[in-house]
Amino acid sequence: MSLWRMIFTNLRRHRVRTAIGATGIALGVATMLSVVGLLGGAVKMFEQILRNDSQMVVFEKNVSDLFFSNVPVGLAAELEGLACVKAAQPVLFAVIASPGRSIITCFGIQANDGRLRRGKWLQGGVGAFKGEAVVLGERAAGFLNAKQGSTIPLGQGTYTVAGVLRMENGFENGGVFMPLDTCQKAFHKDGLCSVITVAIADGHRLSEVREWIASKREHFSAMDNDEFSRSYVQFQIIKVTAWVVGGCAFLLGGLSVTNTMILSVFGRIKELAIARVCGFSRGQVARMIFGESLLICAMGTVAGWLLSWALLCGLRAVPQLQGYIEPSLGWAEIAGASGLSAITALLGAMYPAWYAARLKPAQALRFE
Protein backbone atom coordinates (compact mmCIF):
# COMPACT_ATOMS: atom_id res chain seq x y z
CA MET A 1 0.00 0.00 0.00
CA SER A 2 1.24 3.49 -0.81
CA LEU A 3 0.35 6.97 0.32
CA TRP A 4 -1.81 7.32 -2.82
CA ARG A 5 -3.69 4.16 -1.94
CA MET A 6 -4.49 5.67 1.47
CA ILE A 7 -5.67 8.82 -0.26
CA PHE A 8 -7.94 6.83 -2.60
CA THR A 9 -9.27 4.76 0.28
CA ASN A 10 -10.15 7.82 2.29
CA LEU A 11 -11.96 9.46 -0.61
CA ARG A 12 -13.81 6.24 -1.40
CA ARG A 13 -15.12 5.73 2.11
CA HIS A 14 -16.57 9.25 2.17
CA ARG A 15 -18.13 9.12 -1.27
CA VAL A 16 -20.83 11.73 -0.70
CA ARG A 17 -18.42 14.25 0.77
CA THR A 18 -15.97 13.61 -2.06
CA ALA A 19 -18.75 13.96 -4.64
CA ILE A 20 -19.89 17.29 -3.16
CA GLY A 21 -16.35 18.66 -3.24
CA ALA A 22 -15.81 17.45 -6.80
CA THR A 23 -19.18 18.88 -7.88
CA GLY A 24 -18.18 22.31 -6.59
CA ILE A 25 -15.06 22.21 -8.73
CA ALA A 26 -16.93 20.72 -11.69
CA LEU A 27 -19.39 23.61 -11.64
CA GLY A 28 -16.52 26.07 -11.37
CA VAL A 29 -14.69 24.52 -14.33
CA ALA A 30 -17.89 24.19 -16.36
CA THR A 31 -18.90 27.79 -15.68
CA MET A 32 -15.48 29.10 -16.54
CA LEU A 33 -15.11 27.06 -19.73
CA SER A 34 -18.66 27.80 -20.85
CA VAL A 35 -18.43 31.53 -20.25
CA VAL A 36 -14.96 31.74 -21.76
CA GLY A 37 -16.05 29.54 -24.67
CA LEU A 38 -19.21 31.53 -25.33
CA LEU A 39 -17.70 34.98 -25.05
CA GLY A 40 -14.56 33.86 -26.88
CA GLY A 41 -16.85 32.57 -29.62
CA ALA A 42 -18.65 35.92 -29.74
CA VAL A 43 -15.33 37.73 -30.07
CA LYS A 44 -14.37 35.38 -32.90
CA MET A 45 -17.58 36.25 -34.74
CA PHE A 46 -16.77 39.95 -34.48
CA GLU A 47 -13.26 39.24 -35.68
CA GLN A 48 -14.64 37.41 -38.71
CA ILE A 49 -16.70 40.46 -39.65
CA LEU A 50 -13.61 42.65 -39.51
CA ARG A 51 -11.27 40.28 -41.35
CA ASN A 52 -13.27 40.00 -44.57
CA ASP A 53 -10.48 38.51 -46.71
CA SER A 54 -8.02 41.05 -45.35
CA GLN A 55 -4.98 41.02 -43.12
CA MET A 56 -5.19 44.53 -41.69
CA VAL A 57 -7.70 47.02 -40.44
CA VAL A 58 -7.38 50.82 -40.49
CA PHE A 59 -9.48 52.83 -38.04
CA GLU A 60 -9.58 56.14 -36.18
CA LYS A 61 -7.13 56.37 -33.30
CA ASN A 62 -8.30 56.46 -29.68
CA VAL A 63 -11.92 55.43 -30.23
CA SER A 64 -13.44 53.09 -27.68
CA ASP A 65 -15.80 51.47 -30.16
CA LEU A 66 -15.49 50.99 -33.92
CA PHE A 67 -19.04 52.34 -34.33
CA PHE A 68 -17.58 55.74 -33.37
CA SER A 69 -14.61 55.50 -35.72
CA ASN A 70 -14.68 57.91 -38.68
CA VAL A 71 -12.29 57.23 -41.53
CA PRO A 72 -12.48 59.14 -44.86
CA VAL A 73 -13.45 56.77 -47.66
CA GLY A 74 -10.86 58.50 -49.83
CA LEU A 75 -8.17 56.86 -47.73
CA ALA A 76 -9.17 53.49 -49.20
CA ALA A 77 -8.36 54.75 -52.69
CA GLU A 78 -5.04 56.15 -51.46
CA LEU A 79 -4.18 52.82 -49.90
CA GLU A 80 -5.09 50.93 -53.05
CA GLY A 81 -2.66 53.21 -54.84
CA LEU A 82 0.20 51.76 -52.78
CA ALA A 83 2.16 48.91 -54.32
CA CYS A 84 1.95 46.92 -51.09
CA VAL A 85 -1.87 46.93 -51.01
CA LYS A 86 -3.90 44.48 -53.06
CA ALA A 87 -7.32 45.75 -51.96
CA ALA A 88 -8.77 48.24 -49.48
CA GLN A 89 -12.44 48.01 -48.60
CA PRO A 90 -14.26 50.73 -46.64
CA VAL A 91 -16.99 49.48 -44.29
CA LEU A 92 -19.44 51.58 -42.32
CA PHE A 93 -20.91 49.88 -39.26
CA ALA A 94 -24.21 51.12 -37.85
CA VAL A 95 -27.30 49.92 -36.08
CA ILE A 96 -30.71 50.78 -37.40
CA ALA A 97 -34.23 50.41 -36.02
CA SER A 98 -36.96 48.53 -37.83
CA PRO A 99 -40.64 47.97 -36.93
CA GLY A 100 -41.09 44.97 -34.64
CA ARG A 101 -37.36 44.61 -34.28
CA SER A 102 -35.52 47.04 -32.05
CA ILE A 103 -32.19 47.16 -33.84
CA ILE A 104 -30.49 45.53 -36.80
CA THR A 105 -26.79 45.67 -37.58
CA CYS A 106 -26.19 47.56 -40.76
CA PHE A 107 -23.13 47.16 -43.00
CA GLY A 108 -22.41 49.95 -45.45
CA ILE A 109 -20.25 48.29 -48.13
CA GLN A 110 -19.25 48.60 -51.76
CA ALA A 111 -20.60 46.23 -54.41
CA ASN A 112 -17.23 44.50 -54.74
CA ASP A 113 -17.03 43.71 -51.00
CA GLY A 114 -16.01 40.15 -50.21
CA ARG A 115 -19.14 39.54 -48.15
CA LEU A 116 -21.37 39.67 -51.19
CA ARG A 117 -19.12 37.11 -52.88
CA ARG A 118 -18.78 34.81 -49.87
CA GLY A 119 -22.47 34.55 -49.01
CA LYS A 120 -24.88 32.24 -50.78
CA TRP A 121 -27.43 34.20 -52.79
CA LEU A 122 -30.89 32.82 -52.04
CA GLN A 123 -32.71 35.53 -53.97
CA GLY A 124 -31.54 38.28 -56.29
CA GLY A 125 -27.93 39.09 -57.06
CA VAL A 126 -25.18 41.63 -56.65
CA GLY A 127 -26.17 43.46 -59.85
CA ALA A 128 -29.15 45.10 -58.11
CA PHE A 129 -27.05 46.26 -55.13
CA LYS A 130 -27.09 50.01 -55.76
CA GLY A 131 -29.08 53.17 -54.96
CA GLU A 132 -31.79 52.63 -52.34
CA ALA A 133 -31.67 48.82 -52.71
CA VAL A 134 -30.45 46.74 -49.80
CA VAL A 135 -29.49 43.10 -49.40
CA LEU A 136 -30.74 41.22 -46.36
CA GLY A 137 -29.17 38.37 -44.50
CA GLU A 138 -31.38 35.26 -44.54
CA ARG A 139 -32.29 35.63 -40.89
CA ALA A 140 -33.05 39.33 -41.25
CA ALA A 141 -35.29 38.57 -44.22
CA GLY A 142 -37.08 36.06 -42.00
CA PHE A 143 -37.87 38.37 -39.14
CA LEU A 144 -38.58 41.34 -41.42
CA ASN A 145 -40.84 39.05 -43.42
CA ALA A 146 -39.25 40.36 -46.62
CA LYS A 147 -38.14 38.92 -49.94
CA GLN A 148 -36.61 40.20 -53.16
CA GLY A 149 -38.62 43.17 -54.38
CA SER A 150 -40.22 43.92 -50.98
CA THR A 151 -40.10 47.42 -49.60
CA ILE A 152 -39.02 47.67 -45.99
CA PRO A 153 -38.91 50.59 -43.56
CA LEU A 154 -35.53 51.00 -41.84
CA GLY A 155 -34.88 54.00 -39.61
CA GLN A 156 -36.12 57.14 -41.32
CA GLY A 157 -36.13 55.63 -44.81
CA THR A 158 -37.74 52.98 -46.96
CA TYR A 159 -35.65 50.57 -49.01
CA THR A 160 -36.18 47.96 -51.69
CA VAL A 161 -34.81 44.45 -51.08
CA ALA A 162 -32.40 43.62 -53.91
CA GLY A 163 -31.67 40.14 -52.67
CA VAL A 164 -31.29 37.74 -49.76
CA LEU A 165 -27.96 36.22 -48.75
CA ARG A 166 -27.17 33.29 -46.49
CA MET A 167 -24.14 34.22 -44.41
CA GLU A 168 -22.25 31.95 -41.99
CA ASN A 169 -21.72 34.70 -39.49
CA GLY A 170 -24.86 35.26 -37.42
CA PHE A 171 -24.42 39.03 -37.16
CA GLU A 172 -24.13 39.26 -40.95
CA ASN A 173 -26.93 36.74 -41.49
CA GLY A 174 -29.18 38.84 -39.25
CA GLY A 175 -28.00 42.15 -40.73
CA VAL A 176 -28.67 44.52 -43.58
CA PHE A 177 -26.12 45.29 -46.30
CA MET A 178 -26.48 48.78 -47.73
CA PRO A 179 -24.56 50.41 -50.56
CA LEU A 180 -21.91 52.51 -48.82
CA ASP A 181 -23.14 55.90 -50.08
CA THR A 182 -26.74 55.08 -49.10
CA CYS A 183 -25.58 54.04 -45.66
CA GLN A 184 -23.52 57.26 -45.27
CA LYS A 185 -26.61 59.27 -46.15
CA ALA A 186 -28.83 57.35 -43.73
CA PHE A 187 -26.42 57.89 -40.85
CA HIS A 188 -25.25 61.37 -41.77
CA LYS A 189 -21.69 60.23 -42.34
CA ASP A 190 -21.04 61.58 -45.80
CA GLY A 191 -17.66 60.54 -47.14
CA LEU A 192 -16.88 58.48 -44.05
CA CYS A 193 -16.63 54.85 -43.09
CA SER A 194 -15.87 53.03 -39.79
CA VAL A 195 -12.88 50.99 -40.92
CA ILE A 196 -10.94 50.12 -44.01
CA THR A 197 -9.97 46.47 -44.32
CA VAL A 198 -6.70 46.03 -46.18
CA ALA A 199 -5.44 43.00 -48.11
CA ILE A 200 -1.69 43.04 -48.63
CA ALA A 201 -0.18 42.37 -52.05
CA ASP A 202 1.94 39.25 -52.43
CA GLY A 203 5.56 39.69 -51.40
CA HIS A 204 4.86 42.73 -49.26
CA ARG A 205 4.85 43.18 -45.52
CA LEU A 206 2.12 44.45 -43.19
CA SER A 207 4.58 46.87 -41.68
CA GLU A 208 4.74 48.82 -44.95
CA VAL A 209 1.09 49.85 -44.57
CA ARG A 210 1.53 50.47 -40.85
CA GLU A 211 4.51 52.73 -41.49
CA TRP A 212 2.74 54.58 -44.29
CA ILE A 213 -0.29 55.26 -42.07
CA ALA A 214 1.91 56.32 -39.16
CA SER A 215 3.82 58.79 -41.30
CA LYS A 216 1.04 60.12 -43.54
CA ARG A 217 -2.16 59.77 -41.51
CA GLU A 218 -1.33 60.26 -37.85
CA HIS A 219 -5.00 60.32 -36.72
CA PHE A 220 -5.47 56.73 -37.83
CA SER A 221 -4.13 53.36 -36.78
CA ALA A 222 -3.31 50.35 -38.92
CA MET A 223 -3.10 47.01 -37.20
CA ASP A 224 -2.89 43.45 -38.36
CA ASN A 225 -5.97 41.46 -37.46
CA ASP A 226 -4.42 39.53 -34.56
CA GLU A 227 -2.89 42.63 -33.06
CA PHE A 228 -6.23 44.39 -33.36
CA SER A 229 -8.03 41.50 -31.63
CA ARG A 230 -5.55 41.59 -28.78
CA SER A 231 -5.68 45.35 -28.27
CA TYR A 232 -9.30 46.25 -29.04
CA VAL A 233 -10.77 47.39 -25.73
CA GLN A 234 -14.19 45.84 -26.32
CA PHE A 235 -12.67 42.42 -26.93
CA GLN A 236 -10.44 42.80 -23.88
CA ILE A 237 -13.44 43.69 -21.71
CA ILE A 238 -15.33 40.64 -22.94
CA LYS A 239 -12.36 38.34 -22.35
CA VAL A 240 -11.58 39.76 -18.90
CA THR A 241 -15.27 39.52 -17.96
CA ALA A 242 -15.28 35.86 -18.96
CA TRP A 243 -12.24 35.06 -16.80
CA VAL A 244 -13.54 37.11 -13.86
CA VAL A 245 -16.94 35.38 -13.91
CA GLY A 246 -15.18 32.04 -14.22
CA GLY A 247 -12.78 32.99 -11.42
CA CYS A 248 -15.70 33.79 -9.12
CA ALA A 249 -17.19 30.39 -9.88
CA PHE A 250 -13.84 28.87 -8.97
CA LEU A 251 -13.76 30.78 -5.71
CA LEU A 252 -17.03 29.10 -4.75
CA GLY A 253 -15.64 25.76 -5.88
CA GLY A 254 -12.53 26.40 -3.78
CA LEU A 255 -14.65 27.07 -0.70
CA SER A 256 -16.44 23.80 -1.32
CA VAL A 257 -13.09 21.98 -1.44
CA THR A 258 -11.92 23.70 1.75
CA ASN A 259 -15.13 22.71 3.46
CA THR A 260 -14.80 19.11 2.27
CA MET A 261 -11.20 18.90 3.42
CA ILE A 262 -11.95 20.49 6.81
CA LEU A 263 -14.69 17.93 7.35
CA SER A 264 -12.32 15.22 6.21
CA VAL A 265 -9.64 16.25 8.72
CA PHE A 266 -12.00 16.85 11.64
CA GLY A 267 -13.74 13.55 10.97
CA ARG A 268 -10.58 11.50 11.44
CA ILE A 269 -8.45 13.28 13.95
CA LYS A 270 -7.76 9.99 15.70
CA GLU A 271 -6.68 8.31 12.48
CA LEU A 272 -4.26 11.12 11.73
CA ALA A 273 -2.84 10.67 15.21
CA ILE A 274 -2.43 6.95 14.56
CA ALA A 275 -0.58 7.76 11.37
CA ARG A 276 1.75 10.00 13.39
CA VAL A 277 2.32 7.20 15.92
CA CYS A 278 3.19 4.91 13.00
CA GLY A 279 5.94 7.34 12.02
CA PHE A 280 4.23 9.66 9.56
CA SER A 281 5.89 13.06 9.60
CA ARG A 282 3.96 16.32 9.56
CA GLY A 283 4.96 16.68 5.92
CA GLN A 284 3.56 13.26 5.03
CA VAL A 285 0.27 14.07 6.76
CA ALA A 286 0.06 17.39 4.91
CA ARG A 287 0.88 15.66 1.60
CA MET A 288 -1.94 13.20 2.24
CA ILE A 289 -4.43 16.07 2.70
CA PHE A 290 -3.11 17.95 -0.34
CA GLY A 291 -3.24 14.72 -2.33
CA GLU A 292 -6.89 14.19 -1.43
CA SER A 293 -7.70 17.75 -2.38
CA LEU A 294 -5.85 17.45 -5.70
CA LEU A 295 -7.67 14.23 -6.48
CA ILE A 296 -11.06 15.80 -5.71
CA CYS A 297 -10.17 18.70 -7.98
CA ALA A 298 -8.93 16.36 -10.72
CA MET A 299 -12.25 14.51 -10.66
CA GLY A 300 -14.13 17.81 -10.61
CA THR A 301 -12.05 19.15 -13.49
CA VAL A 302 -12.77 16.16 -15.72
CA ALA A 303 -16.48 16.37 -14.85
CA GLY A 304 -16.34 20.12 -15.55
CA TRP A 305 -14.80 19.53 -18.99
CA LEU A 306 -17.56 17.09 -19.88
CA LEU A 307 -20.26 19.38 -18.49
CA SER A 308 -19.03 22.43 -20.38
CA TRP A 309 -18.61 20.37 -23.55
CA ALA A 310 -22.22 19.17 -23.25
CA LEU A 311 -23.42 22.69 -22.51
CA LEU A 312 -21.60 24.22 -25.47
CA CYS A 313 -22.86 21.45 -27.76
CA GLY A 314 -26.37 22.16 -26.48
CA LEU A 315 -25.99 25.89 -27.16
CA ARG A 316 -24.64 25.18 -30.63
CA ALA A 317 -27.84 23.31 -31.37
CA VAL A 318 -30.11 26.22 -30.34
CA PRO A 319 -31.38 27.70 -33.64
CA GLN A 320 -31.67 31.22 -32.22
CA LEU A 321 -27.98 31.27 -31.36
CA GLN A 322 -26.66 29.72 -34.54
CA GLY A 323 -24.20 31.99 -36.22
CA TYR A 324 -24.33 34.62 -33.49
CA ILE A 325 -22.16 32.81 -31.02
CA GLU A 326 -19.81 30.11 -32.11
CA PRO A 327 -18.85 28.42 -28.83
CA SER A 328 -15.24 27.46 -29.03
CA LEU A 329 -12.73 26.06 -26.58
CA GLY A 330 -9.01 25.93 -27.18
CA TRP A 331 -6.31 24.07 -25.31
CA ALA A 332 -5.29 27.36 -23.69
CA GLU A 333 -8.73 27.75 -22.07
CA ILE A 334 -8.82 24.10 -20.97
CA ALA A 335 -5.28 24.33 -19.59
CA GLY A 336 -6.12 27.63 -17.87
CA ALA A 337 -9.22 26.21 -16.18
CA SER A 338 -7.35 23.04 -15.18
CA GLY A 339 -4.46 25.08 -13.80
CA LEU A 340 -6.90 27.20 -11.80
CA SER A 341 -8.48 24.02 -10.52
CA ALA A 342 -5.10 22.74 -9.30
CA ILE A 343 -4.38 26.08 -7.61
CA THR A 344 -7.83 25.96 -6.02
CA ALA A 345 -7.07 22.46 -4.74
CA LEU A 346 -3.83 23.57 -3.15
CA LEU A 347 -5.26 26.77 -1.65
CA GLY A 348 -8.40 24.97 -0.46
CA ALA A 349 -6.34 22.33 1.32
CA MET A 350 -3.90 24.72 2.97
CA TYR A 351 -5.73 25.28 6.23
CA PRO A 352 -6.90 21.64 6.64
CA ALA A 353 -3.38 20.38 5.87
CA TRP A 354 -1.82 22.84 8.29
CA TYR A 355 -4.32 21.83 10.99
CA ALA A 356 -3.74 18.12 10.39
CA ALA A 357 0.04 18.50 10.43
CA ARG A 358 -0.04 20.47 13.71
CA LEU A 359 -2.17 17.91 15.56
CA LYS A 360 -0.57 16.67 18.75
CA PRO A 361 -0.79 12.88 18.47
CA ALA A 362 -1.19 12.12 22.17
CA GLN A 363 -4.05 14.63 22.55
CA ALA A 364 -5.62 13.54 19.28
CA LEU A 365 -5.66 9.91 20.40
CA ARG A 366 -7.75 10.95 23.41
CA PHE A 367 -10.15 12.81 21.09
CA GLU A 368 -13.66 11.39 21.09
Binding site: T9, R276, V277, C278
Partner: protein, 223 residues
Protein backbone atom coordinates in the same frame (compact mmCIF):
# COMPACT_ATOMS: atom_id res chain seq x y z
CA UNK B 1 24.59 -3.72 28.20
CA UNK B 2 23.45 -0.78 26.00
CA UNK B 3 21.03 1.66 27.56
CA UNK B 4 18.02 2.02 25.28
CA UNK B 5 15.91 4.51 27.24
CA UNK B 6 17.03 7.19 29.63
CA UNK B 7 14.56 9.47 31.37
CA UNK B 8 16.12 12.13 33.59
CA UNK B 9 14.13 14.35 35.93
CA UNK B 10 11.16 14.67 33.61
CA UNK B 11 8.28 16.97 34.46
CA UNK B 12 5.06 17.16 32.54
CA UNK B 13 1.91 19.09 33.27
CA UNK B 14 -1.35 19.85 31.46
CA UNK B 15 -3.83 22.70 31.44
CA UNK B 16 -1.21 25.41 31.67
CA UNK B 17 0.63 23.77 34.53
CA UNK B 18 -2.43 23.28 36.76
CA UNK B 19 -2.38 19.49 36.44
CA UNK B 20 1.06 18.03 37.13
CA UNK B 21 1.25 14.48 35.84
CA UNK B 22 4.97 13.69 35.94
CA UNK B 23 7.04 15.16 38.74
CA UNK B 24 10.72 14.60 38.24
CA UNK B 25 10.64 11.04 36.90
CA UNK B 26 13.94 9.33 36.14
CA UNK B 27 14.57 5.84 34.85
CA UNK B 28 16.96 3.84 32.74
CA UNK B 29 16.08 0.81 30.66
CA UNK B 30 18.70 -1.42 29.07
CA UNK B 31 18.67 -3.41 25.87
CA UNK B 32 16.57 -6.57 26.22
CA UNK B 33 14.92 -5.55 29.47
CA UNK B 34 11.21 -5.99 30.00
CA UNK B 35 9.93 -3.62 32.62
CA UNK B 36 6.49 -2.88 33.96
CA UNK B 37 5.20 0.50 35.06
CA UNK B 38 2.61 -0.25 37.70
CA UNK B 39 0.17 1.98 39.45
CA UNK B 40 -3.39 3.07 39.63
CA UNK B 41 -5.16 4.99 36.88
CA UNK B 42 -3.96 8.58 36.61
CA UNK B 43 -0.58 7.98 38.21
CA UNK B 44 1.25 9.00 35.02
CA UNK B 45 2.08 5.64 33.36
CA UNK B 46 0.61 6.50 29.94
CA UNK B 47 2.03 10.00 30.01
CA UNK B 48 5.48 8.58 30.72
CA UNK B 49 5.19 6.25 27.71
CA UNK B 50 4.01 9.19 25.57
CA UNK B 51 6.95 11.24 26.74
CA UNK B 52 9.40 8.43 25.92
CA UNK B 53 7.91 8.03 22.43
CA UNK B 54 7.96 11.78 21.85
CA UNK B 55 4.19 11.95 21.41
CA UNK B 56 4.13 14.37 24.35
CA UNK B 57 6.68 17.11 24.88
CA UNK B 58 8.22 17.44 28.33
CA UNK B 59 8.06 20.64 30.37
CA UNK B 60 11.52 19.98 31.70
CA UNK B 61 13.99 17.13 31.90
CA UNK B 62 15.68 14.89 29.38
CA UNK B 63 14.51 11.86 27.41
CA UNK B 64 16.92 9.81 25.33
CA UNK B 65 16.05 6.80 23.21
CA UNK B 66 18.73 4.80 21.42
CA UNK B 67 21.18 7.49 22.48
CA UNK B 68 19.26 10.36 20.88
CA UNK B 69 17.50 13.26 22.61
CA UNK B 70 13.78 13.24 21.95
CA UNK B 71 13.52 16.97 21.35
CA UNK B 72 13.46 17.76 17.66
CA UNK B 73 10.43 16.83 15.57
CA UNK B 74 12.66 15.11 13.01
CA UNK B 75 14.28 12.97 15.73
CA UNK B 76 10.88 11.99 17.11
CA UNK B 77 9.65 10.96 13.67
CA UNK B 78 12.82 9.02 12.99
CA UNK B 79 12.61 7.22 16.35
CA UNK B 80 8.95 6.31 15.77
CA UNK B 81 9.87 4.94 12.36
CA UNK B 82 12.92 2.92 13.30
CA UNK B 83 13.35 2.44 17.04
CA UNK B 84 10.01 2.63 18.80
CA UNK B 85 6.90 0.49 18.46
CA UNK B 86 3.74 1.42 20.32
CA UNK B 87 0.82 -0.79 21.37
CA UNK B 88 -2.23 0.85 22.96
CA UNK B 89 -4.98 -0.49 25.18
CA UNK B 90 -7.39 0.08 22.33
CA UNK B 91 -5.90 -1.29 19.17
CA UNK B 92 -6.13 2.08 17.32
CA UNK B 93 -6.30 0.45 13.92
CA UNK B 94 -8.07 2.23 11.06
CA UNK B 95 -11.43 0.47 10.70
CA UNK B 96 -11.89 1.01 6.97
CA UNK B 97 -8.51 -0.38 6.00
CA UNK B 98 -7.70 -4.07 5.90
CA UNK B 99 -5.52 -5.53 8.61
CA UNK B 100 -2.64 -5.77 6.11
CA UNK B 101 -3.05 -2.12 5.10
CA UNK B 102 -3.02 -1.10 8.75
CA UNK B 103 0.07 -3.12 9.46
CA UNK B 104 1.89 -1.65 6.46
CA UNK B 105 1.41 1.95 7.68
CA UNK B 106 4.79 2.10 9.46
CA UNK B 107 6.45 0.75 6.30
CA UNK B 108 4.80 3.49 4.18
CA UNK B 109 5.81 6.11 6.74
CA UNK B 110 9.42 4.92 6.69
CA UNK B 111 9.43 4.68 2.89
CA UNK B 112 10.24 0.97 3.08
CA UNK B 113 10.14 -1.45 0.15
CA UNK B 114 6.83 -3.07 -0.71
CA UNK B 115 8.20 -6.59 -1.04
CA UNK B 116 10.25 -6.33 2.13
CA UNK B 117 7.23 -5.00 3.97
CA UNK B 118 5.05 -7.86 2.85
CA UNK B 119 7.66 -10.45 3.79
CA UNK B 120 7.90 -8.98 7.28
CA UNK B 121 4.13 -8.78 7.53
CA UNK B 122 3.67 -12.43 6.57
CA UNK B 123 6.29 -13.50 9.09
CA UNK B 124 4.74 -11.52 11.96
CA UNK B 125 1.19 -12.44 10.98
CA UNK B 126 2.16 -16.11 11.05
CA UNK B 127 3.79 -15.66 14.46
CA UNK B 128 0.69 -13.96 15.88
CA UNK B 129 -1.85 -16.20 14.14
CA UNK B 130 -3.62 -13.58 12.03
CA UNK B 131 -2.34 -14.65 8.59
CA UNK B 132 -5.83 -15.65 7.49
CA UNK B 133 -7.22 -12.26 8.50
CA UNK B 134 -4.83 -9.97 6.65
CA UNK B 135 -7.23 -9.17 3.79
CA UNK B 136 -10.16 -8.37 6.06
CA UNK B 137 -11.22 -4.97 7.22
CA UNK B 138 -10.53 -4.23 10.87
CA UNK B 139 -14.20 -3.81 11.71
CA UNK B 140 -14.74 -7.47 10.73
CA UNK B 141 -12.18 -8.75 13.25
CA UNK B 142 -12.63 -9.86 16.85
CA UNK B 143 -11.12 -7.90 19.75
CA UNK B 144 -8.27 -10.39 20.15
CA UNK B 145 -7.47 -10.35 16.46
CA UNK B 146 -7.41 -6.58 16.41
CA UNK B 147 -5.00 -6.45 19.30
CA UNK B 148 -2.76 -9.01 17.62
CA UNK B 149 -2.93 -6.88 14.51
CA UNK B 150 -1.87 -3.85 16.56
CA UNK B 151 1.02 -5.92 17.88
CA UNK B 152 2.07 -6.85 14.35
CA UNK B 153 1.90 -3.20 13.27
CA UNK B 154 4.07 -2.08 16.17
CA UNK B 155 6.77 -4.62 15.23
CA UNK B 156 6.75 -4.02 11.47
CA UNK B 157 9.88 -1.89 11.38
CA UNK B 158 11.63 -4.14 13.92
CA UNK B 159 11.87 -1.51 16.68
CA UNK B 160 14.43 -1.79 19.47
CA UNK B 161 11.97 -0.47 22.05
CA UNK B 162 8.36 -1.54 22.39
CA UNK B 163 6.05 0.67 24.46
CA UNK B 164 2.85 -1.04 25.56
CA UNK B 165 0.07 0.87 27.26
CA UNK B 166 -2.28 -1.65 28.88
CA UNK B 167 -2.06 -3.81 25.75
CA UNK B 168 -4.42 -6.43 27.12
CA UNK B 169 -6.67 -4.09 29.05
CA UNK B 170 -9.59 -4.36 26.64
CA UNK B 171 -9.43 -8.14 26.20
CA UNK B 172 -11.23 -10.95 27.95
CA UNK B 173 -9.34 -13.33 30.23
CA UNK B 174 -8.42 -15.94 27.64
CA UNK B 175 -7.35 -13.42 24.99
CA UNK B 176 -5.49 -11.37 27.56
CA UNK B 177 -3.29 -14.31 28.44
CA UNK B 178 -2.68 -15.32 24.84
CA UNK B 179 -1.82 -11.84 23.63
CA UNK B 180 0.50 -11.13 26.53
CA UNK B 181 2.28 -14.46 26.11
CA UNK B 182 2.75 -13.68 22.46
CA UNK B 183 4.04 -10.20 23.24
CA UNK B 184 6.61 -11.51 25.71
CA UNK B 185 7.67 -14.25 23.36
CA UNK B 186 8.19 -11.89 20.41
CA UNK B 187 10.11 -9.40 22.52
CA UNK B 188 12.31 -11.93 24.29
CA UNK B 189 12.98 -13.95 21.16
CA UNK B 190 14.31 -10.87 19.39
CA UNK B 191 16.09 -9.42 22.39
CA UNK B 192 14.02 -6.24 22.28
CA UNK B 193 13.29 -3.80 25.09
CA UNK B 194 9.75 -3.47 26.37
CA UNK B 195 8.16 -0.98 28.73
CA UNK B 196 4.72 -2.08 29.78
CA UNK B 197 2.25 0.17 31.55
CA UNK B 198 -0.25 -1.92 33.49
CA UNK B 199 -2.24 -2.05 36.68
CA UNK B 200 -2.46 -5.83 36.39
CA UNK B 201 0.07 -7.15 38.92
CA UNK B 202 -0.19 -10.65 37.55
CA UNK B 203 1.22 -9.51 34.19
CA UNK B 204 3.70 -7.18 35.84
CA UNK B 205 5.22 -10.04 37.82
CA UNK B 206 6.33 -11.72 34.60
CA UNK B 207 8.52 -8.74 33.70
CA UNK B 208 12.18 -8.30 34.67
CA UNK B 209 11.54 -5.20 36.76
CA UNK B 210 8.46 -3.51 38.15
CA UNK B 211 8.46 0.23 38.76
CA UNK B 212 5.76 1.42 41.10
CA UNK B 213 4.35 4.78 40.09
CA UNK B 214 2.28 7.02 42.28
CA UNK B 215 1.11 10.57 41.81
CA UNK B 216 3.54 11.32 38.99
CA UNK B 217 6.63 9.83 40.58
CA UNK B 218 8.36 6.46 40.70
CA UNK B 219 8.16 5.50 44.31
CA UNK B 220 9.94 2.17 44.17
CA UNK B 221 11.12 -0.82 42.21
CA UNK B 222 10.62 -4.57 42.59
CA UNK B 223 12.72 -7.18 40.83
Amino acid sequence: MITQVTVTDVWKSFDGGRIEVLKGVSLEVRQGEVIALCGTSGCGKSTLLNVISGLEEVDRGLVRVAGRDVVEESTRVDLLRKHIGYVFQLHHLMPDLTLAENCLLPVIAAGGGKQQGWERLRELAAATGVSHRLGQRVRELSGGERQRGALVRSLMNDPQVLLCDEPTGALDESNREKVFELLLELVRERGRTMILATHDMELARRCDRRLRMRDGTIEGEDR
